[in-house]
């Protein structure tokens, strides 16, 4: 293979920037800020990280030609570039949220791990090779395991991290095994080769097995039922900014990566054969996962009194719709999926941001801890309103259009006769249920008077405030003018 | 040259007066009463003016006013006057001021009372003059509103319930009427009474209705009938009457019995009969029976009453059902001979006269009972009074006029109407006439009992105390009324002349050549 190192460097420049940034963060902190205040250390680390992210963003934006030699390993089409930029944007938002949240103990490591995780996500966005995919996934996951456990003074953090790690490890094993099966079946490790080889083969039970295992890993990554059990605990135990990252960036990267894995390769290979072929069976399995997530996520969220667990179950519910987006990514392209995942990410991250800000003064675990937010901080309450309504799917916010695009494409596939259409209908009807628990959150923020023992006005750091307002504005603008984003994918 | 809109003026003057009363709170009580009386008398004034310009021999409607109104519903604003309407307008013009005079001593919010009464007067006038269903229905329904408030706010202890019952009962009937007209409009595209009558006369109405369903003509007939049956009232839709008349304040009772019950009879003659002669003929027998029962029930139930107001209420039922007897008797017989023309003319003349005369006499009776009530502090039992003649001779005199007029004594106005009615009914349905005669006897019985017990005999405790004779306001209402009763009793052709040509035209419509 003729490897052009310059091309490779250019293709991977965002990841390089991020990794360098992480190392810089660690180095600067070690050298200059060993004895400084935690807040100062956080601030310096954040500044460096911000610079790194911006650099990575510029790099990914400018590199969008698909290098021929690397075609088998990395894809740099519009979807990849958009996903990279989206992931970097979400990480930037998470960085902003970090300034809102209580200062972590080891800021530099925290920020460095965050950057590593982001690098993993951006790599996920471009992976075209089975091993690159696995590498990216592991990079992200390992960073996130450590980050979830960061709040060592909270018992649920350790429990959450352990659960997350165990689940993640098992699913990584499943994924690797599935990749090895694919290699065994096709003799190729890059997606194009796999597709090519599968096209000339008949289906075999091994392929089905490989697909099922891949779907298991997929389900874990996107917190789809029945592989969702880690999510409520992880969202509850992790530091708030990390929960935001898991919900937003990691999901976006994972979805795009898996949809790339599933669609072009594993379908074009088997589309020539009859529909009873195991190749298309993964669509129905995915449909089952989607339906289970929708139902379980919405119903379980009704019973939650902890705001983070509620957001976790809402994530599971949204995963159902996102899986539907993956199902239609073949016929309709990945545009709707991308739009939905990105806007969902911004909204959830924003919601976690508000929680982080409230958490600075007093614990924010229960929904009732948000009581009277509109009095305590109109800014936070207003941003929360935008984020929650976007999650509920109220127009003209972006969340509505995300769902709309996915459902519209789903119904186009075969009307109500096809799986996709029925799932879309189910999702629309279940969104009514979701409105109930989202309104409960807003009820606490806007209607319930301030609790007696609550702290007074909540002070929001300027950086954090800007981050939240930018995110809220993005939600509103992307909703009113969805064309710009859709057109770019 | 555009003719002067007398009829619109007739209807709207009382309303303008009511509005002025309502929006000028600074008026003193006396001024308010006086102003209201003046406005009410305007009706009489305009009616007299119309009388002078009225030409009985001209067929159709006179002083007609016709404007397009709601094009999308084919609704026109049309008012017109013929003999029957003029008669009833005159009746209203006479009764309404007397009602106000009867309420002269009303202490509680007289301004509001008079304003509401004027609205009621205007609405009643409107129903007698409107010739298109849309605004006719408006006037018909509008009359309920002031009536409700007059009864509820100034009435007796159980007035609230009585008012509610009255309104809902009447509204139910009106709803049937509305639905019937919905069907009529749907079939014919017109809400105009004259046009519908023309369609019916040329025999095209029934087929148009039957096109919607074979039983539709009958159902529509029943709907219209129900609307009027509740108002008149016709047995068995009369159950609201005793309590409403009894609980209402004097002025309202007078107007209710004097004018509003005639609205129902007017409706029968103006709307039901011209539009549905065939159905009326088919149902005539049943209706005749119902009317007869009403006559008998009214008379005999009155005998059993000890409350004077309820007694006269039942008597009203009796007299108004008498009005209906000739119409239904005519309807139930077919094939009239030449003598039938005279009978028919007598029947219609009887109905019209009885409407007018009963209006006067019943109003006068309620006036007198009201006087008894105020003088005795709210009592109106038969046994509460005695020897009033010695205490208040003038009062006894005018009351006597009213009683004997109601009785049908020759020489007073009640006689002529009843005579014509009995004459015609005897020729058409002898058995009914015989039964109704027993009603006459019963009427005589209770009225004479009234006369004897209240006015003669020893004075009761109530009468012994402060029992002033008829005073100025009361006399100024009762004396003219009594005079009219006397004059019409001696010279009925004053009235008959007004509507005779109309009656003739009706006769010609029925009698087979």
């Amino acid at each position: 293979m003729n490897l052009n190192h310059v091309e490779l460097a250019r293709a991977l420049s965002p990841e390089a920037a991020l990794t360098l940034g992480a190392l810089l963060v660690l180095g600067i902190d070690l050298i200059f800020f060993k004895r400084a205040q935690p807040s100062v250390r956080l601030r310096s680390a954040s500044l460096t990280a911000a610079a790194a992210i911006v650099t990575a963003f510029v790099f990914s934006f400018c590199n969008h030609a698909s290098p021929t030699a690397l075609e088998s390993v990395l894809a740099l089409d519009k979807l990849a570039v958009a996903t990279r930029c989206g992931a970097l944007g979400l990480s930037f938002l998470v960085l902003g949220i970090t300034s809102l949240a209580p200062t972590p103990r080891h800021s530099a490591e925290y920020i460095a791990l965050l950057l590593f995780a982001t690098a993993g996500i951006t790599l996920m966005a471009v992976a075209q090779h089975l091993l690159v995919a696995f590498l990216a996934l592991e990079l992200t996951s390992l960073s996130l395991y450590a980050l979830v456990a960061f709040d060592t003074h909270r018992r649920e953090a350790t429990e959450a991290a352990l659960k997350y790690f165990l689940f993640g490890g098992v699913s990584a094993a499943f994924l690797l095994f599935s990749f090895s099966l694919l290699y065994g079946l096709t003799g190729a490790v890059d997606l194009r080769g796999v597709a090519h080889a599968l096209a000339h083969q008949n289906g075999s039970p091994l392929l089905a097995l490989a697909l099922v295992m891949m779907l298991v890993a997929f389900g874990y990554k996107t917190a789809a039922a029945p592989f969702h059990l880690w999510a409520p605990d992880a969202y509850q135990g992790a530091p708030t900014p990390i929960a935001a990252l898991i919900a937003s960036g990691s999901k976006l990267g994972g979805l795009i990566m898996f949809s790339r894995l599933l669609w072009p390769s594993l379908l074009t290979g088997t589309a020539a054969n009859d529909s009873a072929h195991s190749g298309l069976a993964w669509l129905s399995t995915l449909a089952l996962l989607s339906a289970a997530s929708l139902v379980l996520g919405n119903i379980a969220a009704l019973a939650q009194s902890n705001i983070r667990r509620l957001l976790a179950y809402s994530a599971i519910a949204h995963a159902g719709s996102l899986l539907l987006g993956v199902m239609i990514a073949g016929p309709a392209g990945a545009g709707p999926l991308y739009y939905y995942a990105l806007t969902y990410g911004i909204a959830t991250a924003g919601a976690f941001g508000v929680i982080a800000a409230v958490e600075r003064n007093a614990s924010c675990q229960q929904i009732s801890d948000l009581a009277g937010l509109s009095r305590r901080s109109p800014l936070l309450a207003g941003c929360l309103l935008v984020f929650i309504l976007s999650l509920a799917g109220i127009p003209p916010l972006a969340g509505f259009f995300g769902k709309f695009f996915v459902f519209s494409a789903a119904l186009k596939v075969g009307g109500l006769a096809a799986w996709e259409g029925q799932l879309a209908l189910a999702a629309i009807l279940l969104s009514v249920v979701s409105l109930y628990y989202y309104l409960l959150v807003l009820k606490q923020a806007w209607i319930t008077p301030v609790a007696d023992n609550a702290a007074g006005q909540i002070r929001v750091s300027p950086v954090g405030a800007i981050a939240l307002v930018l995110a809220a504005s993005a939600i509103v603008l992307l909703g009113v003018f969805p064309n710009y984003l859709l057109g770019g994918v | 040259m555009k003719p002067y809109p007398w009829l619109t003026l007739l209807v709207f003057t009382p309303w303008i007066g009511a509005a002025l009363l309502a929006f000028l709170p600074a008026l003193s009580r006396k001024t308010a009463r006086g102003f209201a009386l003046l406005v009410s008398l305007s009706t009489l004034g305009i009616a007299v003016r119309l009388l002078t310009g009225f030409e009985p021999h001209v067929s159709g409607f006179q002083f007609e006013e016709h404007h397009a109104w709601i094009n999308s519903l084919q609704v026109h604003y049309r008012l017109g006057l013929d003999g029957m309407s003029l008669l009833l307008v005159l009746l209203t013009g006479l009764v309404a001021p007397v009602c106000l005079l009867a309420s002269w001593r009303e202490e509680k919010s007289p301004r509001l009372f008079n304003a509401l009464f004027l609205v009621l007067q205007g609405a009643a006038l409107g129903t007698f003059l409107a010739l298109d269903f849309f605004h006719w229905f408006f006037f018909w329904e509008l009359s309920l509103v002031p009536a409700f408030f007059l009864i509820k706010l100034w009435g007796g202890p159980r007035a609230g319930r009585a008012a509610y019952q009255f309104v809902i009962y009447t509204l139910a009937g009106s709803a049937c009427l509305l639905l019937a007209f919905v069907a009529l409009f749907s079939a014919t595209g017109s809400l105009d009474f004259s046009e519908l009558a023309r369609l019916a006369a040329s025999g095209r109405l029934n087929p148009l209705l039957a096109a919607m369903g074979s039983s539709v003509p009958q159902l529509v007939f029943v709907g219209v009938l129900l609307g009027f049956a509740v108002k008149i009232p016709l047995f068995p839709f009369h159950t609201w009457l005793p309590s409403t008349y009894a609980e209402a304040p004097t002025g309202a009772s007078m107007f209710l019995t004097g004018v509003m019950s005639k609205m129902g009879v007017y409706g029968l003659l103006r709307i039901l009969w011209p539009l549905f002669p065939a159905q009326l003929q088919a149902a005539g027998g049943t209706l005749l029976v119902l009317a007869t029962i009403g006559v008998l029930l009214g008379a005999f139930a009155a005998i059993c009453q000890t409350d004077l107001k309820r007694m006269i209420a039942y008597s009203s039922l009796n007299h108004v059902s008498l009005c209906l007897l000739p119409l239904f008797a005519l309807a139930s017989t077919h094939g009239l001979t030449q003598s039938g023309a005279e009978t028919t003319a007598a029947a219609f003349s009887g109905i019209l006269l009885q409407m007018f005369n009963h209006g006067l006499s019943a109003a006068a009776l309620f006036f007198c009972i009201g006087m008894l009530e105020t003088r005795s502090g709210g009592h109106r039992g038969l046994d509460d009074f005695g020897g009033v003649r010695s205490a208040a001779p003038i009062f006894a005199g005018v009351c006597g006029f009213a009683l004997f007029s109601s009785l049908g004594l020759p020489g007073l106005n009640g006689f002529v109407g009843e005579f014509l009615i009995f004459r015609s009914v005897f020729a058409l349905a002898p058995w009914t006439a015989a039964l109704a005669c027993t009603g006459l006897f019963a009427t005589a019985l209770f009225l004479l009992t009234f006369w004897q017990r209240v006015f003669h005999g020893p004075r009761t405790a109530l009468v012994d105390g402060h029992f002033p004779d008829a005073q100025a306001a009361e006399l100024s209402g009762l004396i003219p009324l009594s005079l009219v009763m006397l004059v019409l009793g001696l010279l009925p052709q004053v009235l008959i002349g007004l509507f005779n040509p109309l009656v003739t035209s009706w006769v010609q419509a029925i009698v087979l050549p």
């Binding site: 545009g335 109109p378 309504l389 109220i394 127009p395 003209p396 509505f400 709309f404 519209s408 119904l411 186009k412 009307g415 109500l416 879309a424 209908l425 629309i428 009807l429 969104s431 009514v432 409105l435 109930y436 309104l439 807003l442 009820k443 806007w446 209607i447 969805p482 064309n483 859709l486 057109g487 | 709601i70 094009n71 999308s72 519903l73 084919q74 849309f134 408006f138 329904e141 509008l142 509103v145 408030f149 509820k152 706010l153 202890p157 609230g160 509610y164 309104v167 809902i168 509204l171 139910a172 709803a175 049937c176 509305l178 639905l179 919905v182 069907a183 749907s186 595209g189 369903g213 539709v216």
Partner: protein, 500 residues
């Protein structure tokens, strides 16, 4: 006419301004809100003066919005929209006047109020199905907050119920519309393209699509048996919100049925027609009977709203020119009258006596303590009963005339509903205002005098009553807009026959 598209923008701008300013000074919030509402009303009236009714929708704004999905930002107006825009203006202004005394967070209150109005204007002016839907949903969130924060009684429950039912209705509509739009080769949401797509859809599928869209909208219109949110929600809401919710927002559902559901699927509509008519009539009678036994005055009014909306739905179900024009006229009429009734009960009575229970109100001689309110309530009650002279009568008459053609039995049942309406309205008037009629002047002194009726209330009552009487005496003012619009090609197949 060019001003019309600005009505929603103005409302939203006003909402934002009130929110920013109102937290500091309550009076500024009120005046800005009044100015905004009045301005939108005047825009509507100016447009009305130059409006010439024709069969076509007259386009105001038509730009591409989301080309990839075939959604256009298309605002247009015809006679029906014009009627409802005028209604919204009147109801909004009156609502602001009757909310003049809001003390608690007035800035936020008027902000939500104006946002709701903006959404409503948007719905009435939309000519693209998805844009219609977007404005429709925008209106849901302010409703929730208005009731939950400023309401009374079981406000949180009422607000949640109302929001969830509305959202469920709109979810059904979205499902139906999306499905229909996706069957077209080129996805588009303009009314004409959707109609073209609908002709290609199979019979069974068309019936399901129609059911989704129609019943989705009908939930918001209060069709029996999906009406239970309405009395609860409207009773819990503050006065200004109740006026708007019962008066205008319920009409959004009926308008959606008329504008979208009916023209798209004429054949499916004929299939569902008997059931819709039956449900409408059941609603009229059932809600009326329930109102008859209520002991809370506001619930009486709430159920009467459901009953009157039953008339609107009956008019739509009968589907001929006379009945549908009557239905639109009834939308206007009921909008004004319901607003008036809620205003009297909520603002004039409840804010002063702090009770809505009929048994308690019976002991107050309200007609003496608040004569203005008594007169207004009597007039509003008469209008609600369908008394000729007020706008309800020509509307109900038209609906009855139209319904008679399609199904005489429906007319008979509807008339029964009229009588029941008279009964419960009269009962409410009688017990609430005229309960104690025998109080002597001496007794009254011991009763606390109530605060007098303020000028904003008088103005608001005058505005609403004036509209009701004006249209009652000259319904042609509105019918001249409505009837030509019903001749448009989109209604051609579904509105069969009609009055002469």
């Amino acid at each position: 006419m060019n001003l019309l598209p600005f009505t929603p923008y103005l409302a939203f701008a006003g909402a934002g301004l009130t929110l920013l300013v109102g937290s500091r000074r309550a009076t500024w919030a009120r005046w800005i809100a009044l100015a905004t509402a009045l301005a939108t009303a005047l825009f509507g009236l100016f447009a009305a003066r130059v409006f010439v009714a024709s069969a076509e929708l007259q386009s105001l704004v038509d730009v591409s919005w989301i080309p990839l999905l075939g959604v256009r930002y298309h605002l247009a107006v015809d006679g029906i929209s014009m009627t409802l825009v005028v209604l919204t203006g009147i109801a909004a202004t009156a609502g602001v006047l009757f909310s003049w005394n809001i003390e608690k967070r007035p800035g936020a209150f008027f902000a939500f109020y104006l946002a709701l109005i903006g959404g409503v204007y948007g719905v009435f002016l939309s000519a693209d199905a998805l844009l219609f839907f977007v404005f429709y949903e925008i209106a849901i969130v302010p409703k929730y907050f208005l009731i939950a924060i400023w309401g009374s009684g079981e406000r949180e429950y009422g607000a949640m119920k109302l929001a969830l039912y509305s959202f469920a209705g709109s979810a059904l509509v979205l499902a139906g519309l999306l499905w229909l739009a996706s069957t077209a080769p080129v996805q588009s949401f303009s009314f004409d393209d959707l109609a073209a797509a609908a002709t290609q859809v199979g019979c069974g599928e068309a019936r399901i699509m129609f059911a989704l869209v129609f019943f989705g909208f009908a939930i918001l219109a209060g069709l029996f048996p999906f009406h239970t949110w309405a009395p609860t929600g409207h009773v819990a809401a503050p006065t200004g919100a109740s006026m708007l919710l019962a008066g205008v927002v319920m009409k959004l559902g009926a308008y959606g049925c008329l504008r979208i559901a009916l023209p798209l699927f004429p054949a499916a509509f004929s299939f569902w027609q008997p059931m819709i008519a039956a449900l409408a009539v059941t609603g009229i009678i059932y809600a009326g009977l329930i109102a008859l036994v209520q002991d809370d005055l506001k619930f009486v009014i709430g159920y009467s709203s459901v009953s009157h909306m039953g008339f609107v739905l009956l008019g739509l179900a009968a589907a001929n020119l006379r009945s549908v024009s009557g239905a639109v006229l009834q939308m206007f009429s009921h909008g004004v009258i319901a607003g008036l009734l809620f205003a009297v009960v909520g603002r004039m009575v409840y804010d002063r006596t702090h009770t809505r229970k009929l048994e308690e109100l019976r002991t107050w001689p309200l007609h003496r303590l608040m004569p203005f309110a008594a007169v207004v309530f009597v007039l509003a009650a008469l209008a609600s009963m369908g008394m000729p002279g007020f706008s309800g009568f020509p509307a109900e008459l038209s609906i009855l005339l139209g319904a008679w053609r399609t199904s005489p039995w429906a007319s008979v049942a509807a008339i029964l509903g009229v009588v029941i309406a008279a009964a419960f309205t009269l009962r409410a008037v009688q017990v609430a205002f005229f309960g104690r009629t025998t109080a002597t002047p001496g007794e009254l002194v011991s009763v606390q005098p109530l605060p007098p009726i303020s000028l904003p209330e008088r103005l608001g009552a005058g505005l609403l009553l004036g509209a009701a009487v004006l249209i009652g005496l000259k319904p042609d003012l509105l019918l001249n807009w409505i009837i030509p619009s019903l001749h448009s090609p989109q209604f051609l197949q579904v509105i069969t026959g009609g009055g002469s």
